[in-house]
């Protein structure tokens, strides 16, 4: 089984970290994983994306041209990647920031007002974790316990308060 996911949005939304959580969880489960960020001038325009592969097989190319899963947190990212998703793939949209509808009718589209939810919860920087929670729920890439375990290991012990917030946000997404 191989899960190929592209995360995309603005710089500062925690796009690369969202991808890292998935890659890290995969590593802890003994899977082969890769995490490839966009880099260079591409990042300077304020957009960021990363490609994350979690697989039982060796990861060949870490570049994903046809993702099974797409997580987008701004309009330009939806424009850029919408048509790349494979038929039957899953598209996760932060509907608080993306006004238009997804035009694909051959993919499962999930609209989550993640940024609004995060603000309402008093966790304005954790919309990314809400999206990750929903992604895991719908793809069953990991169990809830596995996801929680990964984030627990990834957040430094010194920042225990941050850990609680991250888990709250993941939970909100997972149960949305």
């Amino acid at each position: 089984m191989t899960h190929e996911t592209i995360f995309a949005g603005f710089g500062g939304q925690g796009i690369l970290f969202a991808g890292k959580v998935i890659a890290y969880a995969g590593m802890l489960e003994g899977k082969n994983v890769s995490h490839l960020p966009s880099y260079g001038p591409e990042m300077r325009g304020g957009t960021a994306n990363c490609s994350v592969i979690v697989s039982d097989e060796d990861v060949a190319s870490p570049i994903i041209t046809e993702p099974a899963n797409l997580v987008v947190m701004n309009g330009p990212s939806l424009d850029k990647f919408e048509n790349a998703v494979i038929p039957g793939g899953k598209i996760f949209i932060d509907s608080a920031l993306i006004n238009r509808k997804c035009e694909r009718d051959d993919a499962d589209v999930f609209e989550i007002p993640a940024t609004q939810m995060a603000n309402d919860m008093g966790l304005p920087k954790l919309a990314n974790m809400i999206m990750v929670g929903k992604l895991i729920k719908e793809t069953q890439m990991f169990t809830w316990e596995q996801l929680k375990g990964a984030v627990t290991k990834l957040v430094p012990a010194a920042k225990a308060a941050m850990l609680d917030s991250n888990i709250k946000a993941l939970e909100a997404g997972y149960n949305y």
Partner: protein, 355 residues
């Protein structure tokens, strides 16, 4: 799972160098390798090492020459245009028999080119780059784990044969994250470098680190002596991976990132009934000629397909290795485009005929 950590290639490479006893790093920022410098800048002051951002790549490689000559394990890192600037220094370092490690995280060229992954510096790395009769040992990892393991080897090879060693990755290996495990290496007891310019202490005759020899016969003797060391390297240090080459009709030849993709294409081709193997050179110099001898020894008709992120540079070494005994084909993408398994598969089908 062992002690695996999830790390970016450039950072893992820097950490591996530190663990191999490197305490001196001289660099200059250039995408896509800058994280090597950033990691060194963060770590070196805490462990009593030196990180110095030089005024240019030219200066950085000459600082490497100075520190390497003084006897310490030293490294610099850059990407294609910066490596071009270092060529003068690399030639002097080779000519003065100073060990050091040079990292090239290759991007598309020529000129400023782009910043996406490429393998178009193969000629420069394996056929000279700088002037004169010399070689770099060139190590080409295809995963972050291998990059880490080869970094330790690079320092050992450099010290053993008194030569500069290049680790050649590409933008993808530098930028991506993968799980990696650092093996324990003991560097507390490295052999003393009696040739180093570390001060005579008034206890020995002076050492001179130098590549200038005006007497032609003296220079020839030194080049010949160095060639003997190269022969030892060819004998002892060739590394490659070969999978299913003996029964194959089509043998892919690919290194680094491209080899990963070629392996996926190979698996898909096998599902379609093609007999496909792969040779993955890990040392680009010395080139693994013996892998080709073994593959050719079965006697059946074979076609070699060199897959590269260049317009066909390694394919020349593949032709030398095959030496007319089999067909050699080439497939490459360039400019920072990474080939897909689909494209490579299509080439395999073109060579093997429809099934």
């Amino acid at each position: 799972m062992g002690n695996k950590v999830l790390m970016k290639g450039n950072e893992a490479l820097a950490e591996a160098a530190i663990r191999a006893g490197c305490r001196h790093f001289f660099g200059y920022p250039i995408t896509p390798q800058t994280e090597v410098s950033a990691y060194m800048a963060k770590k070196m002051p805490k462990i009593g090492g030196t990180f110095l951002q030089a005024e240019s790549e030219v200066s950085a490689i000459n600082m490497v020459y100075g520190a390497g000559g003084a006897g310490v394990r030293v490294m610099t890192s850059s990407s294609s245009p910066g490596i071009s600037l270092k060529q003068e220094g690399i030639s002097y370092i080779a000519g003065a028999d100073v060990p050091c490690v040079i990292v090239n995280i290759v991007r598309g060229g020529p000129g400023l080119g782009g910043i996406q992954p490429a393998q178009s510096d193969y000629f420069q790395a394996t056929k000279g780059g700088g002037h004169g009769d010399y070689h770099l040992v060139v190590l080409a990892p295809s995963s972050i784990q291998e990059m880490v393991d080869l970094t330790a080897d690079a320092f050992d090879i450099g010290d053993k044969y008194r030569c500069p060693v290049m680790i050649m990755g590409d933008g993808m290996l530098g930028q991506m994250m993968e799980p990696v495990e650092f093996k324990d290496t003991d560097v507390s007891d490295l052999p003393e470098k009696e040739w180093a310019t570390s001060g005579t202490g008034m206890k020995r005759k002076k050492n001179i680190i130098n590549s200038l020899f005006i007497e032609a016969s003296e220079l020839e003797d030194l080049v010949l002596e160095r060639q003997q060391r190269y022969d030892e390297i060819i004998k002892n240090e060739v590394r490659y991976e070969a999978i299913d080459t003996e029964g194959a009709d089509i043998i892919l030849v690919a290194y680094g990132t491209t080899a990963r993709i070629a392996k996926t294409a190979m698996a898909k081709a096998k599902e379609l009934g093609y007999k496909v193997g792969i040779i993955r050179p890990i040392t680009l110099w010395p080139f693994p000629f013996e892998a080709f001898e073994k593959a050719l020894s079965s006697g059946t008709k074979k076609t070699f397909l060199s897959v590269e992120m260049s317009m066909g540079q390694m394919v020349e070494d593949v032709r030398l290795a095959v030496n007319g005994r089999a067909d050699v084909e080439f497939f490459g993408r360039t400019g920072g485009i990474v080939p897909t398994p689909k494209e490579i598969l299509a080439k395999i089908v073109e060579i093997g005929g429809a099934k």
